[in-house]
């Protein structure tokens, strides 16, 4: 009897040691698999990252053959007024932006007067970032149509078309103006014909709209309307504020 006890204890010790070794092996195995899984997951994320960056880069590069409208200055801006005017006003606007309409309503005639008397040259920089499914990409369609009018009939017609679109701006969150309406306003502004209609409906200058929006973003414009009077941001977007800033710029 007493001889059996230590033997069983030995066997138990052996079993316990084996169990401990097995547990350690299992832990090591679990750890190894966790590390392997981690490496595989990290690789998958890196590959996904590379693929997505490449694909998205492709999607944002305007196609090489992109149509550019005639009559722009520096490729994306539209200049209205005498080139000799002492003060340049840069205007960044989206046709769907309600604050831009408010600015146009408040200062449109004042600005028109300053252009007419040769004090101001306006450079319009179109942007299109208020596209939605509901408005069927109205921002893009409107700026494309404006480019068609500009290309066909020049900056004067662009100005008229621009004013018409702000006067009839569709509500934000609404369905936007239809292509038919854009064609009709283009005709009113002085650009009509089958080619105009086709370019408006086919978004001929769609890539150019993207380029123009991108250019404005690179110019540091982070909200619309952004109004620069002689390069300085206009703080008070009222008729009086605009007049004061232009007067100060003309004097300086």
């Amino acid at each position: 009897m007493p001889a059996e006890a230590p033997r069983r204890t030995n066997r138990e010790r052996l079993a316990a040691r084996r169990a401990a070794e097995a547990a350690a092996r299992a832990r090591a195995e679990r750890r190894r698999r966790a590390v392997l899984g981690g490496v595989i997951a990290a690789l998958a994320v890196v590959i996904a990252l590379i693929v997505v960056v490449v694909v998205q880069t492709q999607r944002t590069i305007p196609s090489a053959g992109a149509a550019v409208p005639a009559n722009t200055v520096d490729g994306t801006a539209v200049a209205v007024g005498s080139a000799d005017a002492p003060v340049t006003v840069d205007l960044y606007e989206d046709f769907q932006c309600p604050n831009c309409k408010a600015f146009e309503d408040a200062t449109g005639s004042t600005l028109g007067g300053l252009v007419a008397d040769g004090t101001v040259r306006v450079r319009y920089h179109g942007m299109a970032f208020l596209d939605t499914g509901a408005n069927d990409k109205y921002s893009t369609r409107a700026l494309n149509a404006a480019a068609v009018v500009l290309s066909t009939a020049g900056p004067g017609a662009f100005q008229t078309f621009h004013d018409l679109l702000y006067a009839h701006q569709p509500s934000e969150g609404g369905s936007g103006l239809s292509d038919d309406q854009l064609v009709q306003y283009a005709a009113q502004a002085g650009a009509s014909g089958a080619a105009v209609e086709k370019d408006i409906r086919d978004l001929t200058y769609g890539d150019w709209v993207t380029t123009a929006t991108d250019k404005a973003s690179k110019d540091g414009v982070t909200s619309t309307p952004t109004v620069l009077v002689a390069g300085k941001k206009l703080a008070d977007p009222s008729a009086a504020g605009l007049t004061a800033a232009v007067t100060a710029a003309a004097a300086g």
Binding site: R30, G37, G38, Q56, T222, S223
Partner: protein, 157 residues
């Protein structure tokens, strides 16, 4: 609790990442608007960030690599907080672009306090989750957490 934290954080990150994918140009403008990233790096950041967001969000939702994902989320949120805070401090008028588009808004439309409060709350959740990553309804279970932590947690439970 940990399961709820995982689902909330994972859900928010998957959704916010996915919303940025369809319009890459808008994502680029949103990143550029912060004026923190040098121009050559703007597109890669704008395109890559959603991938990271979706990846860590999915990991949290599925319950794999929970601790790593929670730490990644905490780091991202800290970066977002710095970004929004600095935009606020510099007087920029931008939307945070947290859920797609963003970028350009009028002065009265900025919502910096709210955006920072939300990111801060999510950051606290992420840190708690990184501390106690094990939870129910997780695919990875114990093997996803490193063994020492798993034992730690079973004791806590």
């Amino acid at each position: 609790m940990a399961a709820a934290a995982r689902l909330v954080l994972g859900g928010v990150f998957v959704v916010s990442g996915a919303l940025k994918v369809p319009d890459p140009a808008a994502a680029v403008r949103a990143v550029r608007a912060y004026q923190l990233v040098p121009e050559p790096l703007v597109p890669p950041v704008a395109f890559g960030l959603p991938v990271i967001e979706i990846a860590v969000g999915l990991a949290l939702l599925l319950g794999v690599f929970v601790r790593t994902a929670a730490i990644a989320v905490a780091v991202l949120l800290a970066v977002f907080l710095v970004g929004v805070g600095s935009a606020w401090a510099r007087g920029l008028q931008i939307d945070c672009g947290c859920f797609s588009a963003g970028g350009q808004v009028a002065a009265e439309q900025t919502a910096y306090p709210l955006e920072m409060l939300r990111d801060g709350a999510l950051l606290v959740v992420a840190l708690l989750l990184a501390r106690r990553p094990a939870s129910r309804l997780a695919l990875g279970g114990r093997s996803a957490v490193d063994p020492v932590q798993a034992e730690d947690f079973s004791r806590a439970r």
